[in-house]
Symmetry: C2
Subunit: 416 residues, 2 copies
């Protein structure tokens, strides 16, 4: 019999009515003869309530670090509640079910509380329960350390739980139910002609996820790719028979018959650009700057270096996450005497727009189309960065929507 | 080093400010050199919220029984949250602490979910942690079955957890913090001259608890008596140095030097009286009636039988819990043809008033004083029942306060 993992996020289980709706979706799958493991998040809003309490309890009387294992004990209770409620609801519909906490399966993690990584999931007990015809309702987001403490996987952790469980029980598919009905060629709120993709490769999804398409967490896509778990993104709010019912399947590139050159246009307004002017043009300068940023845990994304107007000097531009920009600026300024440069500036009004597609590997001219389309609309490109399956440009954030729509049209994504 | 269990109920941990106050009380005990295990309830109101959800999830689509193991999984999360928050707060005060869930200790229970009984608590891990100087913050009310499911002990379960933990770690005392500062000679809301008892015996406390003094749950007193755990009832709202700081110690009768004849006056309005008139006066009638009530799980408290005016016939009166009275009446009426009686009546307007004291064993005249005091105030006695250390009378509920005050004065409890 085929095994299926279904995952429901916080908005899908926000109240008892929605939990009943989820139960009906689960019951339909078991009625179709599938063995089902369901992974649930905390009811929408509950995790925030719990986190606020831990913040309050953490209001240091002394200035000690946050107690991460206790934070996890508190916050993991949210998923425990949903799992119990869904199991009860299923039973009351006549569907055999039981809840599983992280420690009951167990989902064994390392001890990095609050952002733990899964070490191991012995799938035997769970598999036996499924084979016995019982729906396994699993509390997402949580695990247990080898010394028996509750751990949590960090935000987006329930997606990761779902994929990890799918790998552990060798599920045929992992269905991630969310509030959108799939992965789109771009954000439909910006481009009404955006279309849902029937399939997308892991690699493309990874780029989409890391570039700001918030459908799936990067980490869960990485895990799905590593274990070859087919993932489907679909909406728990779409009625059977309605458009969008099938969602988007995230799978291996080989399983996508008709490959597109470009699959989607993503954008992010979460970055800031830092510009350094008049750097000394000799080896070691870059490593000095980025070494200091790395030591301070500041992630740097795009980097370009160019000759300055002054002889023997260089300019450099790089982007960091917007919330890190003030700290990055401070670090760079603090190193001014060591590095030696004329001036530094930060610009928060930038956006990164990217086109993504595995077809780029075998097709030339993708960049040319991109730059042409942007030039035609008068969009100035500040920084460019590329990977095998993606081209990103940094532009003035005021042009974001214009650029996204222009690129969406330029690659024919309107006519999928 | 002495070991101490401290238990805090829901109102004592109702918000972060109160949790900080509890942490300060715990820190004071550790600073005084004691090894402390703290047992906490869910924050006030949280259990009701969780129970309401389970009621909603249990709204049967089919008419199946409630899923008790899932109910427990949901409801036990309340104590989990408090335990984590208190452990965090203690750490932030510089006090070494960690939380313990029922399954982590483990507190092994039977499988009677929702009202589980504790089978066994292996105290080694907990004892080792305490010896290491770490405060153990224990989630009350919950345990784990032998097959790894979360169980709960039912209402009042956190008191039971505290006493059971005290027995398991051989604590010198189990301090139950509540919203009153001890056990009183009677309810101070009715008799302002009521006085706090410095000490009370387990047996007396049991009678007080089962007769409606809601300070401690009967079950926890029984367990304390069985294991010889000294329990202290005290308030978490009394400042050090204030009156009432010392609370009331519940202990073995032998440890009470000055025994009083009567320690307290208790009352309960939770009972109803059922009267059967004109019963056939032959063997088997009582067993027929009370057998049927027992089969329906209706608890019967006081029973009296008397001759009826009619030759060869008897009358019988007995009391049941008020919420069971309609059901009891129905059962008795349903057996009318089998048993044969003239008439049946139910009276909800009754109260049971009791005087309790271990000194009764060796002193005559206690009943005489009681009946005299009630007669003097014109209080008519409907039913009488006695045990070794208690005399209870059933009266018209309108006379409750009058009777309580008269008895309180008659036994000199005003002048303790």
């Amino acid at each position: 019999m085929s095994r299926l993992v279904m995952k429901f996020g916080g908005t899908s289980v926000a109240d008892l009515d929605r939990i009943r709706r989820v139960a009906a979706l689960v019951a339909a799958e078991t009625a179709a003869g599938r063995r089902v493991a369901v992974v649930v998040s905390a009811m929408a809003g509950k995790t925030n309530e719990l986190v606020a309490w831990t913040d309050g309890a953490g209001e240091a009387i002394a200035d000690l670090p946050v107690s991460d294992d206790e934070y996890d004990t508190v916050v993991a209770s949210g998923e425990q509640v949903t799992a119990g409620l869904l199991a009860m609801t299923l039973r009351n519909m006549g569907v055999s079910a039981r809840s599983w906490m992280g420690w009951q399966i167990p989902i064994i993690t390392d001890e990095a509380h609050g952002r733990a990584r899964i070490d191991e999931i012995p799938g035997e007990a769970l598999g036996a329960a499924l084979d016995g015809g019982e729906v396994a309702v699993i509390a997402g987001f949580q695990g247990v350390t080898r010394d028996g403490r509750i751990s949590t996987l960090g935000r987006g952790g329930s997606d990761t739980t779902a994929v990890a469980i799918a790998a552990a029980i060798k599920a045929n598919c992992c269905d991630i139910y969310t509030d959108v009905d799939g992965v789109y060629t771009t954000d439909p709120r910006i481009e009404s002609k955006a279309r849902r993709l029937a399939r997308i490769s892991y690699e493309e999804m990874l780029e989409m996820a890391s570039l700001g398409a918030k459908v799936l967490h990067t980490r869960s896509v990485e895990m799905a790719m590593a274990h070859g778990v087919p993932v489907r993104v679909l909406s728990s709010f779409v009625e059977p028979g309605q458009a969008g019912e099938m969602g988007t399947i995230v799978c291996d590139e080989e399983e996508i018959v008709e490959k597109r050159i470009v699959s989607g246009v993503a954008f992010s307004r979460d970055e800031a650009k830092i510009s350094l002017f008049g750097l000394p043009d000799h080896p070691g300068v870059s490593s000095e700057i980025f070494g200091r940023l790395a030591d301070a845990n500041v992630n740097v994304d795009m980097i370009v270096q160019s000759h300055a107007h002054r002889e023997g000097a260089a300019n450099m531009e790089f982007t960091v996450g917007k919330r890190d920009s003030a700290r990055a600026l401070e670090i760079v300024r603090g190193a001014k005497d060591v590095i030696g440069f004329d001036d530094v500036a930060v610009n928060d009004d930038v956006a990164k727009v990217s086109v993504i597609g595995v077809g780029m590997r075998s097709h030339a001219g993708v960049a040319k189309t991109m730059f042409g389309a942007l030039a035609e609309k008068g969009v100035n490109i500040q920084v460019i960065s590329t990977s095998e399956i993606k081209i990103s440009v940094l532009i003035d954030s005021a042009y974001t929507e214009l650029a996204v729509r222009a690129l969406h049209a330029a690659y024919g994504l309107d006519q999928l």
